[in-house]
Symmetry: C2
Subunit: 319 residues, 2 copies
């Protein structure tokens, strides 16, 4: 049995799976930003205890416990450092907290890496050796599986593709630089670009989808694009082109087999992925990209549960 | 004992080293593009035989034989496919040729990868786990050592950083795309950019260094820059900025410890490396780049000999 903790910016969850990664039970709680990290961890641990009790699983039956959380974090020490979605979590020793409670070994990983590993073992990455999983939400980041191993880099910051600079004079990014991929093509950037152009498109469906100006999100842009709204389609096409440019860097440097995209890519599908693929073909060597698969991630809404669980799976446990 | 073959576009060499990588003897021949690959291999094999005889080393005393050559090549099958510096070498089974001759195991690797591995074990990469070695000559390519292992990618094309597109509307590249790093900042690109601007700089030293117009090379640009020629300095500064942009992509994606630069970087030193480092700092997260070392490669003029030899060295054999 494997116990998994997923800590997100808006919701968190505990999940229980068998030794091959089949989910048995889960329990979700809202992430309360008003609570201290310690109280939030207590709530999650309480949920985990109840889950184990309900399923009749003694602690000793756990192979291990996985914990997936936004980075930056130190996976070796198991300490979380101020993720952008958990701004008041500063140097929280999550590994020690969970280990002291359950007396079982705990593995901690940032959510992009953990999801990449889960996709590799259980999702759309099965059967390949080299892949990137890109989360395309509020933030943009990648987890890299290279030669069948998770690659983390020197400061555990590998995969920070959201902050490659595509336009040195582009819009300012949350990280302080200008023209980062994230500033151009994340969820909030999609919404911002649509909002800016709305006055020029008085016929756009987006006017009707948003009651209060300024509350536009990428979700409405995708919804309007699916109804063939020209402004929304244009925004998503440009977004795909930005993604394609960054993916071409990944491919030209890493010669990957698959690139799996989460979050916005799952909702928007080919409305973003087709322009992304076209841009990849334009910017990347044919020898490298002719057989690469650029796909939505495979684990869907349960990706975060699997991410925490998969930290205790290896290739022999693929199901 | 280890025997190494290095096959370059203008010169090739065989080298002999002991089991810890200390060079004992070498022999160099010009690469004759008028010879068939088979004849050229025969000449190198003949040199190798004489080297072994002169040193009194029987074939059986060889741990193995390394062969380093421009890519694309298949290191597993040991077949060389039309490198840009050996355009008439098409599907040459170099591994089989050398193995059949010496009856010892042969490892084949493209020169960027082999040099990265040599720098990691014997050169400026000693003591780190994650590095890129970039060859900055006629072509631009990288070898990647990630988590202490050579990373090759799906089609053995990882590290083709020379063909990341920095300027979608930039100058046409040999690969057919536009604005690749190689088209902007390789040796020939440096020469071309200097040549184009020469008429606007009638006082430039470059007019005197080049007897025949159109024969300008990066070598003269570096020589003039060292004598503080304003045009040459400007060209090298721009070159460093292009390099810095590409290195920032490497770092943002791979969170490396060191980036080692060969060829032009060794000749030009800080004239290129300082603008490159400044651009890296501007384009890369501080957390990633604050302690990265961006240095000239350490093995100097014998890098290619070590590259072929190092294919038979591992970390336990570091000297």
């Amino acid at each position: 049995m494997i116990l998994g903790f997923d800590i997100g910016g808006t919701k968190s969850a505990v999940a229980l799976a068998d030794g091959s990664g089949v989910l048995i039970a889960r329990s979700q709680v809202p992430t309360r930003q008003d609570l201290t990290p310690e109280s939030m961890m207590d709530r999650l641990i309480e949920r985990a205890r109840r889950l184990l009790a309900r399923e009749g699983i003694p602690q000793d039956a756990l192979i291990g416990i996985g914990l997936s959380c936004g980075g930056p974090l130190d996976p070796e020490e198991g300490i979380v450092y101020t993720p952008s979605n958990l701004p008041h979590w500063n140097a929280v020793p999550v590994k020690a907290i969970v280990e002291d409670t359950f007396r079982r070994p705990v593995r901690v990983e940032n959510d992009a890496n953990a999801t990449a590993w889960a996709e590799y073992l259980l999702g759309a990455g099965q059967g390949c050796r080299h892949l990137a999983y890109l989360t395309m939400g509020t933030g943009i980041g990648a987890g890299l599986v290279l030669d069948g191993r998770l690659y983390r880099g020197r400061h555990f910051l590998a995969g920070e593709i959201g902050h490659v600079v595509l336009q040195p004079d582009g819009p300012i990014c949350g990280c302080g630089k200008r023209g980062c991929l994230e500033a151009l093509a994340s969820g909030p950037a999609v919404a911002r670009r649509a909002q800016e152009r709305l006055p020029v498109y008085p016929e756009s469906l987006l006017h009707r989808l948003v009651v209060h100006p300024g509350q536009l999100t990428a979700r409405e842009v995708v919804r309007a694009a699916k109804r063939k709204d020209p402004l929304a389609l244009q925004i998503l096409q440009e977004t795909g082109m930005y993604w394609g440019q960054a993916i071409s860097y990944l491919l030209q440097i890493l010669d990957l087999e698959r690139v799996l995209l989460g979050t916005l890519a799952i909702h928007a599908g080919d409305l973003i992925l087709e322009p992304a693929r076209r841009t990849v073909r334009r910017y990347t060597w044919h020898e490298i990209c002719h057989d690469v698969l650029i796909l939505p991630a495979g684990l869907g809404v349960r990706a975060q549960d699997y991410a925490a669980i998969a930290l205790w799976l290896n290739e022999n446990r693929r199901h």
